[in-house]
């Protein structure tokens, strides 16, 4: 309980007045000699206890009346930590949930519209001299303003202009920002309004911290939970576009699987799904889906003709439902005429190519017998020895594969140069792919030191080389497949042969590589915390040891194999020393390698395909001095400037891209002129711009954070109370102007009730006095 006018409590001292009067009047009496003492004593004997009780009762009533009056004038309020009484200035903080579930239609208005209206009403009902701060929050918080907290008109404007983001809900950042805003307030009376649809996701992402934050807020302010939507939303979301061929090539009509998911609570019928390329309505292909049940995910195959090479934007859409925000899904794909792969073979056998380490791999990547056909094949392999692997070799490659390459120990064969490794690291960070295969030439120490610690290319550190007994070879655990791209090896029985591969020798990969530990000069481990920097184990052995791991490095990705790409033939030994994987078609060597290459090539557009809320970090060529401008989906241009050096790399950054859609990164030559040469990527973009896209325009597809619409279930008031362990004030933002805060402030202040109590006591005292004094 707080007091708005605590100094009035001094008035409670007046409660001593009846007591003082009681003793005063007891000491002021007149003396009367009395004859009929017998009757007097008799009557006193009969009435003394009752009289004492009545006197005490009257005294208590009078004392209580004065004490209550003082308490009423002190204006007590129920709220802890800064509740306001009626008319008292308030420091209000409004946290508006701007995750895109707030865009769902709820009756005649969207949830966000209801939130806006409720926010304006809250501001309208703030007592004079109040201040307000508006914080918007999806999975990150923004103090929207107003700049001067007492500018309520400005706050109304901000509330009315609040827009939703295509970002998932997480209440914690908003609560933390709100707590900071409340802390900055000057008034003792504070109110915190959470205007949200109370989606479960927002409460669960960092559940414990959210609850703790609200508990902390409760100590500072009165908490209002303003629910901005009650009805359940009917929603079907496009959750992905997957090309059905390995590498899309120009002139082909390519099939794409459009994945749609019904995240609502009811079946949706006659759903139309469409796909178009580069926003060209003429290219739109539509297919109807009879029905999709609640929670069901379906893949609809749609085709699109990719006319020209380069970066193309695929757009899949479903028809309008309650939640528009996730009805569109954009994806940038790279349409290539050729894919260049550089294989660095550390154990090449020119005299007996079949014994080379890359022999099976090369044939798996180019499964064409005829030499002339090989030249026409879209995937062009350039196989070089480590000695010939010079930095320039990487210039126009899309993928590099290190096969059993020694890095330091020349006894094991030719080593690659440090310059090549340097260039290789840059090559990967610019968005290319790298595959590393094991072999006898792979020494854990050199790999860990050079590829791991120095260039941070190695997904997992190598602990050592492990040879299995001949009778107990390692096998591949199909069930361990973790990436969706490789899911067919787990789910499709046609690929079950991969489980019969016998692996005699393998590198022991240290799974702690998911948190790269490197001892720098300060001898302190450096932990890579970013999620995209952490390695993922794609495939494991039957002993749960990692077999294939992958890790994003910069804009590119590295895939590491714990075993070799070849059987590991040894002279005079007819048995494979590493594995028998390439030896039999049914062991699915070729499909796996094909999928691995496709995965890495497809991943090269990851810099172009972002999830809403991601920070844009674009790595142009080292010598690029062009100024970049980011054109938003709504046409708004944001100037990003020239690339800056960060850790020795050029980077162009933009703030969080919170809106889904197709962005364009436009590079323009500064007026001063620049001798920067166009990059291979820029060249390829220049080649393929069917809709007149200028050569230096880089498309970026930003899709909604689909975690948001995965489960649209909202927490009920009771569930919120249960989580919090206390009961905030729950209100629903309706169409009519809400007056909850005003009523609550009035209800919270006890003055009126206490005054009524004083009145009641006065009445009671009068009646009691009359009753005590009346003749009976």
């Amino acid at each position: 309980m707080n007091l708005l006018a605590p100094y009035m409590l001094w008035g409670a001292a007046a409660a001593g007045i009846p007591i003082a009067l009681h003793f005063f009047f007891r000491s002021r009496y007149r003396t009367i000699p009395w004859a009929a003492m017998k009757f007097l004593l008799m009557s006193i004997e009969q009435t003394s206890r009752r009289l004492r009780f009545q006197e005490l009762l009257l005294l208590l009533a009078r004392v209580a009346m004065l004490a209550l009056l003082a308490l009423a004038l002190a204006r007590p309020i129920t709220a802890v930590g800064g509740g306001a009484g009626r008319g008292e200035a308030v420091d209000a903080v409004l946290l508006i949930d701007t995750s895109y579930s707030m865009a769902a239609q709820d009756g005649a208005a969207t949830r966000l519209e209801r939130a806006r209206k409720a926010a304006v009403n809250v501001i309208d009902q703030l007592p004079p001299h109040s201040t307000v701060q508006i914080v918007t929050c999806s999975d990150r918080a923004t103090l929207a303003g107003p700049r001067s907290p007492s500018a309520l008109d400005q706050a109304r404007g901000i509330a009315e202009e609040t827009r939703f983001d295509h970002v998932a809900s997480d209440l914690l950042p908003g609560l933390q920002e709100s707590a900071a805003a409340l802390q900055r307030g000057q008034a003792s009376n504070r109110e915190f309004y959470l205007l949200s649809d109370m989606q479960k996701l927002g409460w669960e992402q960092q559940g414990g911290a959210v609850v703790q934050s609200l508990k902390d807020l409760k100590e500072k302010a009165t908490i209002y939970m303003v629910r901005c939507g009650r009805s359940k939303a009917k929603n079907v979301a496009v959750v992905g576009i997957a090309p059905q061929s390995g590498v899309p090539r120009p002139g082909e009509r390519v099939g794409f699987a459009v994945l749609v998911r019904n995240s609502g609570s009811e079946t949706v019928k006659d759903l139309k799904v469409s796909l178009m390329i580069d926003g060209d309505a003429k290219s739109r292909e539509t297919q109807a889906l009879d029905s999709i049940g609640a929670g069901e995910m379906r893949a609809i195959t749609l085709t699109g003709k990719l006319e020209k090479p380069g970066l193309r934007v695929l757009t899949a859409q479903v028809e309008i439902d309650d939640l528009d925000a996730d009805n569109r899904f954009d994806q940038v794909i790279n349409v290539r005429e050729h894919v260049n792969v550089l294989i660095v073979d550390g154990a090449a056998q020119p005299r007996d190519p079949a014994k080379s380490a890359s022999f099976f791999l090369e044939h798996a990547l180019v499964p064409v017998k005829d030499e002339s056909e090989r030249l026409k094949y879209y995937l062009q392999v350039h196989n070089v020895s480590p000695r010939l692997a010079v930095p320039g070799r990487l210039a126009k490659q899309d993928l590099c594969i290190l096969v059993n390459v020694p890095l330091e120990d020349a006894k094991r064969g030719e080593t690659v140069s440090a310059e090549f490794l340097e260039e290789l690291a840059r090559f990967v960070r610019q968005g290319r792919g790298l595959m590393i295969f094991a072999g006898d030439n792979v020494t854990p120490d050199a790999y860990n030191r050079l590829l791991g610690e120095k260039h941070k290319l190695l997904p997992l550190a190598i602990k050592g080389v492990k040879s299995q007994p001949a009778k107990q070879p390692l096998a591949i655990d199909r069930e361990s497949v973790s990436l969706p791209a490789f899911a067919k090896f787990k789910e499709d029985d046609r690929f079950k042969g991969i489980g019969f591969v016998s692996i005699s020798r393998s590198l022991e990969l240290d799974e702690r590589g998911t948190r790269w530990e490197k001892k720098d000069d300060s001898e302190k481990p450096v932990v890579l915390k970013k999620k995209d920097e952490q390695a993922k184990v794609v495939l494991r052995y039957n002993t749960a040891m990692p077999m294939v791991a992958t890790r994003k490095v910069g804009s590119g990705e590295v895939m590491q194999f714990a075993t070799s790409a070849d059987p590991g033939w040894k002279p005079k030994d007819p048995n494979p020393t590493w594995n028998d994987w390439p030896l039999a078609p049914e062991l699915m060597y070729l499909p796996f390698m094909d999928m691995a290459v496709s995965y890495l090539l497809h991943g090269q557009t990851q810099n172009h395909n972002l999830v809403a809320g991601t920070k844009l970090s674009w790595h142009p060529q080292e010598k690029d001095t062009k100024a970049y401008t980011l054109v938003h989906p709504d046409g708004r241009a944001e100037r990003l400037g020239v690339p800056v050096d960060v850790d020795g790399k050029k980077v162009v950054t933009a703030k969080d891209l919170r809106q889904a859609g197709v962005y364009r990164l436009v590079a323009a030559v500064p007026p001063t002129g620049s001798s920067a040469e166009p990059t291979s990527e820029q060249s390829s973009q220049g080649e393929g711009s069917p809709n007149g896209t200028p050569p230096d325009e880089i498309p970026l597809a930003v899709v909604p954070d689909l975690r948001e619409s995965e489960d649209l279930e909202a927490l009920s008031d009771e569930q919120i109370d249960e989580r919090l362990g206390f009961r905030p004030i729950h209100v629903t933002a309706g169409d009519s102007p809400v007056t909850f805060s005003e009523i609550e402030r009035l209800n919270r202040e006890w003055t009126l009730w206490l005054l009524l109590g004083v009145l009641g006591l006065a009445l009671g005292e009068s009646l009691l006095a009359w009753w005590c004094g009346r003749a009976r």
Partner: protein, 309 residues
């Protein structure tokens, strides 16, 4: 009837206790004995003795031994039988006036003082009795007999009574019952007894004493003298009541206990009145707020109307 004579100027006692308006009203009515009383000389009041006086009562047969002077010779002439005429003897009475002079009688200011009121009443009664040539005795008591004047019908006795009344100063508490028994034993001739008191004693003892007097044939009247404060208990505020007859004091809010007080007083008065009616004792409640003249006149008039059996 003798006209009231104003006392001489020098006779200050007469002026103090015999108010002309009281005497003039009461004298008209006089104090008549309603029962048979026994006196020493012929008077206005009926006597239990039969004799040869003025009032003829009956004839009876002559029996040897009767005085022949009382034979009614006229009757003998008519009936030739010796008969004797009998007459009722009339006598005077002795009025015993008992005045309570305990400390409780001191309550009241001026004319409403209970003792002064009682003295005035006693003097008036004594005057009326003596003035109609009956005898009056005065007994002043508290816990015992403080002063006793024998019955006398001499005019000078009035002065003695007045002096005794004047000199009375309350000192003790009341104890009425035993004194009434004492009086009943001492007074052999039937007469009138006037008890003037506030009766702040045990009602049972008082009523027992009154019954004793009635048993001895006395005509008894209880003048219950109360102050209006004692009847109405009109006090307010914080009051400390100090007992007048005993040690003790009570600090209280009178308005809070008034109902209980009134209840106890009413019960006491009712007990007294009922007890008196039961023993055929005249009960007269004298509120000192009421002037004595009308109060006494009313009593005497009522007395005339009701003859006691």
């Amino acid at each position: 009837m003798v006209a009231y004579r104003l006392p001489a100027k020098r006779d200050y006692r007469m002026a103090e206790y015999l108010h002309p308006d009281v005497i003039s009203r009461a004298q008209v009515l006089g104090v008549k004995a309603r029962a048979i009383v026994e006196g020493l000389r012929v008077g206005e009041h009926r006597s239990p003795y039969r004799g040869f006086s003025v009032e003829f009562v009956q004839h009876r047969e002559y029996v040897p031994g009767d005085d022949v002077r009382h034979i009614d010779w006229k009757s003998y002439g008519r009936s030739e039988r010796y008969t004797i005429k009998q007459y009722e003897q009339e006598t005077n009475f002795a009025g015993h006036i008992l005045v309570d002079a305990s400390r409780s009688m001191l309550y009241g200011e001026g004319a409403t003082n209970k003792l002064e009121y009682a003295k005035l009443l006693a003097a008036s009664l004594a005057y009326l009795v003596i003035h109609q040539r009956d005898s009056a005795s005065l007994s002043i008591f508290d816990a015992g007999w403080r002063q006793r004047l024998p019955a006398s019908g001499q005019p000078g006795h009035m002065q003695t009574i007045l002096r005794a009344l004047e000199n009375t100063r309350p000192e003790e508490k009341t104890s009425i019952g035993p004194l009434l028994h004492d009086l009943a034993q001492q007074v052999s001739r039937r007469g009138l007894v006037f008890l003037i008191s506030d009766c702040f004693d045990e009602p049972a003892g008082i009523l027992d004493g009154l019954r004793h007097l009635r048993f001895d044939g006395h005509e008894v009247t209880l003048f219950h003298v109360l102050h209006p404060d004692e009847v109405d208990f009109p006090f307010g505020g914080m009051v400390k009541f100090e007992a007048m007859e005993e040690k003790g004091q009570v600090l209280t809010r009178p308005q809070m206990i008034r109902p209980a007080y009134m209840k106890a007083l009413k019960r006491f008065l009712k007990d007294m009145q009922t007890g008196c009616e039961k023993h055929r004792v005249d009960y007269v409640l004298m509120n000192t707020s009421r002037p004595l003249g009308p109060a006494l006149t009313e009593y005497l008039a009522r007395r005339l109307r009701v003859r006691m059996m």
